[in-house]
Symmetry: C3
Subunit: 279 residues, 3 copies
């Protein structure tokens, strides 16, 4: 069964399970992460106090760690909730926001990687490279130009992703103009999405929350769930861009259209727009 | 004078007093709470540092405690600002977000209830039941299905609300498909609102901020102010849903339409849409 | 060369440099500040941990301190990042949110002013007066009526701004119905903007982030960059109001239109709408 056939079940599982997803996020994008989770038919819980997260997360179906805020209490909450989710076998998604941009962030990142088993690690190519190599050239939260995945270096990038997946045990999701979704044996490359998405804050954070919903409802097929998630989210971005142009509006309208199209996404729309290739 | 006649004065008081309302909120919905306060013609102050809140809150007309974040400094700020508002006779609204979902949250809740006299306590039925009984079955921030208020159990629910109001001294506002607004003697049941409101984060938090504005401008008639607030907010949700369908948009557009209709709300529109019944 | 001629270069520098601007903000408006930075073609970094900000801010082109949250770790982060930006010669913008409203806020304000050299200080007239005099009458985050700049007291206000600029070394930007942008020798008065902007939270915070982008890309001409920033942002507000009326929408739509028009702003649109006068 290929990924297009599988997508019916993947979307159906979300609608039926209505997964409750625990997100630890940050002051910039917490609202966006909660809203995109709801848009997909999931239910967000955003608890972040170290003493509440174990209770809260036990009642959820999955957990997303967004590293955008590395305050001590939050990091403790990430660790405690992450371990609890590992114990009960729920998927944990890591978004290593800003990896490589500051020693403090890097220290937190490696502490999380050491203590928590992740089902998925999703970031831009600079962040993912930093995880693999411990060095990088990120400026702020955007990927460095020199790191970008292109048609020319795609095979090297896929090989890199497979090795990192083998090392970490997590599906690796590298976001960019070309997305790579890979476990240690199989990879998808995805050419959905639109450059306009980088003109709105939180589009990466929201994607990690989207992965949380897809994975929490599709435990048995994390790789394919991630590929459908990334492709359909990117396609929603394409539709949003089209509507922004048609309405002659701007970046704030684009942001609204993006969430709107995610809220309308289903297997049929996905199949009409997905640009996925198995490698 | 019935509530429809009274609504003229209730809305007029808001426009004339332009109440400044102090909200202690959380990273997910602080922006929404501030914007809904402004949409109604109030002015929000969102100060949360323990050492600033007493100064700040003294210059305000009312105070809303949203328990979505239970970090120690915030809880201290809630307590200090709550006591100060009690001293100067300003209304204090409690939104017990997540009550029952974690021991930590419950501890904070009962500390607040012990130390602050609330004018209004607003939550979903699971949260309110937890306050009354100390037990419950909340999953995350949404009400449990088994707790829901229906036409069948409505009399029991009203009786329950009246008793809790008598015990706490606060108007009790239970949100759901059917809303109950009750003091110890009188209750309203309200059938405004739309299920789509649960597909956007912060619609409950925003309602508590709405109550803050209505109460801060209508000190002498908290019960009726709450009933008009809940009904008109719910009706704004109905209008927003209608516009979402007409524009074939999605959940992010719905969120915008909701705040838009709140910003246009007045006594006349309220009277045209309110579904309130006195019990 | 007058400011209209200069505006071509000012906008061109933003598009070419794509400045990365570090903002330390608050839970209410962090998302808005990040999105307005992106709307202009800048790139936001919102890091706020004391141990990460020096690393992060070194890779940026400018720094905006929004004083909306005065939690200790954030204040330490503001101080460390501010000093670092002073060392490397990057512009630092101060938004003294709530100055005068609480002793705690005032203490933080004067600690920042003592330790950091600001390129720009932007606030409403009550906040700016408080900086100059150490006293004021702010209620919450809005300016006091009695402080407002009018055509009658404008010369006194300009003189006041020039003196404060001389004292602090910063360009002073006073926001209101009439804006004043002044260094110690020259001032602009600006009559763009619309009252509707005060019905949305964060319009002041967003303007400070806008100033961050304009200044980070125009180091050699901070005064004129600020004047173009304030005027074009205000004009975007006028266009947004017009569209709100045309679409018969409300305050949430206005907020979106505002950011939309900022994302479409350029020297040509600016020249068509600017109401700037040199004094």
């Amino acid at each position: 069964m290929d990924i297009f056939e599988k997508s019916d079940l993947i979307f159906k599982n979300i609608r039926e399970i209505k997964p409750v997803v625990h997100n630890i996020s940050n002051i910039v994008t917490a609202n966006d992460c909660a809203n995109i989770t709801l848009a997909l038919g999931g239910s967000p819980t955003m608890a972040g106090h170290p003493d509440e997260v174990e209770d809260v997360t036990s009642g959820c179906n999955g957990f997303v760690i967004n590293m955008g805020d590395v305050a001590e209490p939050l990091v403790e909450a990430m660790l405690r909730a992450g371990k609890r989710n590992n114990e009960i076998g729920h998927p944990v998604i890591l978004d290593p926001v800003g990896a490589g941009a500051a020693k403090k962030i890097n220290d937190v990142l490696f502490e999380l990687l050491k203590n928590i088993k992740f089902s998925v690690i999703r970031g831009n190519v600079s962040e993912i490279k930093f995880i693999a190599t411990g060095s990088g050239s990120a400026k702020g939260v955007d990927a460095d130009e020199s790191d970008k995945v292109t048609d020319e270096n795609i095979d090297i990038a896929i090989d890199f992703a497979k090795k990192l997946s083998k090392k970490t045990g997590a599906v690796i999701a590298i976001s960019g103009e070309i997305d790579i979704i890979s476990d240690e044996n199989n990879a998808y490359i995805i050419k959905n999405g639109h450059a306009e998405m980088s003109n709105v804050t939180g589009t990466g954070c929201m994607l990690s929350s989207v992965l949380g919903v897809f994975c929490a409802a599709n435990l048995d097929d994390i790789l394919d769930a991630c590929a459908v998630a990334v492709s359909s989210y990117g396609y929603a971005g394409e539709l949003a861009y089209r509507k922004m142009v048609e309405t002659d509006s701007g970046t704030a309208s684009f942001r609204m259209f993006l969430i709107d199209y995610v809220s309308k996404m289903n297997a049929e729309i996905f199949k009409g727009g997905a640009k996925i290739e198995r490698r």
